[in-house]
Structure formats: C-alpha cells, structure tokens
C-alpha cells in the first residue's frame, strides 16, 4: 500500500510538462541517501514510462506507481 512507503522526500511535479518530472526526480536522487524513499507526484503520463526506464538504467528500485485520480505517485527507493 502506498501509505506504507512513508517517503523521505516528496517531489511535486504536477503540471510540469515532459521532461520536467523526470529531471526533478534525478535532481533529488542525486542528493538522497541510499535506502531513502522518494515520492514523485506527476500529471505527465509519459513519466510512467520515462521514470521506470531511467530507474532501470541507474539501478534504483521502482516500488510502485499509484493512480491518485488526477495525478500519479511514483515511489522510488535509492539503491
């Protein structure tokens, strides 16, 4: 369940167009510590593909993509 993730950082990129949300996430992952959980809030549907692809390349874990109705929450754990 998404509420169990208790994110260490919440990145609100709602209304930002591509590539805003992913770049916002990358910026925050840089400064996060190993094991920290980040929540990316996005209204850009493209993020549902871009973010998992980038996480795969960068070696971080995708925990869950949650449809919140008018936006998506993407939960990520820094490796």
């Amino acid at each position: 369940m998404s509420e169990d993730y208790n994110p260490d950082k919440v990145i609100d990129s709602r209304e930002a167009a591509c590539p805003g949300p992913l770049m916002d996430l990358i910026g925050q992952v840089k400064s996060a510590k190993s094991g920290e959980v980040l929540e990316l809030k996005t209204t850009d549907e493209g993020s549902k593909n871009d973010v998992p692809d980038w996480l795969d390349k960068a070696g971080h874990e995708l925990l869950e993509v949650v449809d919140q109705g008018d936006y998506w929450s993407i939960y990520v754990e820094k490796s």
Binding site: P19, I26, D53, K57, A58
Partner: protein, 381 residues
Amino acid sequence: MSTKICVVGGGSGGTIVANRLADNLRPELESGEVEIVVLNDTPYQLYKPATLYMAFGRSEVSEVKRPVEELLDPRVKFRQKKAVSINPEAKTLDLASGETCNYDYVVLTTGSKLAMEDVPGLKEAGHHFYGPEGSEELREELANFDAGKIVVSVIGVPHMCPVAPMEFAFLADDWFRTRDKRDDVEIVYTYPMNDIFGMDPIADWARPLMEERDIKTETFFNPEKIDPDEKVIHTVEGSELDFDVLVAIPPHKGDDLIKSADLGDGEWVDTNQYTLEAERANDVYVIGDAADVPTSKAGSVAHYESGVVADRLASQARGKTPTARYDGKTVCFVDGVDGDKATFIQFEYGEEPDLPEESKLIHWAKHSYNEAYWLTAKGLL
C-alpha cells in the same frame, strides 16, 4: 500622477517590450501620463544565439553586443542598475546601489544564468558557448585541437536555445571534416533523457543525421561530477566517459530577485502561460527565460511574448481590460548540418513541430536573421 512601467532586464525581451510599449503609448509618453524605465546591470545587450558561431570563428564579439541605450526608443529611460529584490505589495524594487525604485507595473525579463558550480569539477574542466568569454576560450581550444574526443554534454535542462547543443555537434563535425581531421576526432553528444532530444520530431530528424556523420550519442546521461585531472565524467547513472574537450551545457538558474519575493517554487517565476502575469503577485509580468511557461527557453519566445505583454500593458495604462494572449508560439532554426544546412521548427502550446528537410536556403535565412536581429531588439521586426 503618471503610470510608471519598470522593465527589469535589458535583453531581447526587455528592449522589445519597452520599444513596443513606447510605440503603443506614444501620446501618453509625450504627455507625461506614462513613464517607461528599463533597468539593466550592464550597459550591453548580448545576442546569445550568435555566440555559438563565435566558437567556430564565424562571428566576433563586436557583432553580438550592442549598448542597450542605443536599442531603446529615446522616450524610454535607461538606468544601468541591478535590481536585487522586489516587493510586490509595496510595488518597489530594491537596487544594488541601495536605492528603491517604485512602479505601477513591472516586467521581469531577468533571463537565466549559468551555474557551472553546481557540478563539481565542471568549472575547471568544461567549456561552454553561452557567452562571448566562453566561446572565445572554446574557439582557441578547437583551433588547436588535432585529435581526440570531444564530448558535447547537455547537463542542465531546461537550458537556453534547446537545439544549440546538437547544432554545436553538427558544426564541430563539419569543422574537423573540412580540415581533414575528422577521422582523428571522435564526437560524442550526451543527453539527460532517454532520447537525444526532449521533443520526438526533433530527435527523429537529428538521429539519422548524427549516425550518418558518426556523431556518437549517449542518453540517460546525467553528469554528477567531473574529474578535471583524469578528464572523466561520472554520471548519476553510474557510468563514466572520458574526454579531451568537454563542451558543456551547464545547469541554468534564474535571477535571485525571483526568490526574494517567492515568485516561484524553483528558479523560475510561476507564470500564467496565456496572460504572462506572475501567479503570485499583482501587476507583475514575466517574459523569456524567467517565466516557467511550458515552452522553450528560446529568444523567439521572449520576442513573441513581448508583443503580448506590451499590448496588455498599453490596455491597462489606458484603463481598459487587456485581451492579448500568448499562444506559446516558438520558432527555432536548427543550423549547422554540414556547416551550411539548416531546418526550423515552429509550434504553439500542445503542438509538435513538423520539420522541413534541411537546406542551404534555410541556413542562409537563419544567418540573414542573425544580421537583422538588432531590428528585432528595437521592436521593428
């Protein structure tokens, strides 16, 4: 009491909006009902798109700089002052000189600045072409480069002139090809996203051209630090890339004035994409890179936005309801293919561009516009 309109910034957006206003409000300016003031911290305006060509010896400093005062309508007052903060409630600007400047309406055209220091090692190891000094240094580097690896790396997004990095890669390819050095020079272009550009039609246009010209590409490439001694880029993704010359598109930042009044969450002003008014303050308009509207940080955006803001402000100064609206119009040339071929893109909000085939005709149209740019800055073109 006259209506005072302050324009903060003497770049493209600043001089165009001031000159268009002076034209629209000629009777009111002459009767003293309206006053227009432009504030800029330096006496010069820089035509930034042309600095790309300086790196290849195709343009000189004298061609990319003009005194702001010479570009302005004589009825516009120019003050060489740096505005450091804004108080939208009191309608005042604090100047670095310690003075306070009041306004009835203010237009923020504060642009963006390079933040080389945001990436450790970048300042020591990286070159850029976003200003005369950087381009002059890069020109010397290229002029004396015979063999090795050049990495053109887009580090900061968003950045000025979004297509400029790929233009640089094409121009570098031609530069070394025409000097019979291309077989000894490897060119690598890197981009932070999972493609070579953020808009699919442009990526689809450029990809085969880069492949044909042996311009190598790396995607999902986000430099975290640079080792200036070993000349290696280390990325957030955990990869490494060595280089002999690093041409960086550094992270960009907005003016500190934006943060002084919490006008946006990050570097840019939270701006209504149609009216170009700041969302968090009254009687504040925003033009160009400083605005967070969903289009490119391109000179053409500042150009088209300026006409809209001038129209709206002229209506307001006359006590009428402003109706002009910015539809997101953006135009960019994409130059440099084989040194003398270009295409162009044009789109509005929500649209994707359709690129014509690159040609010499479009290349010369681009260079003709570069020559004519100063008429745009004067609000005439």
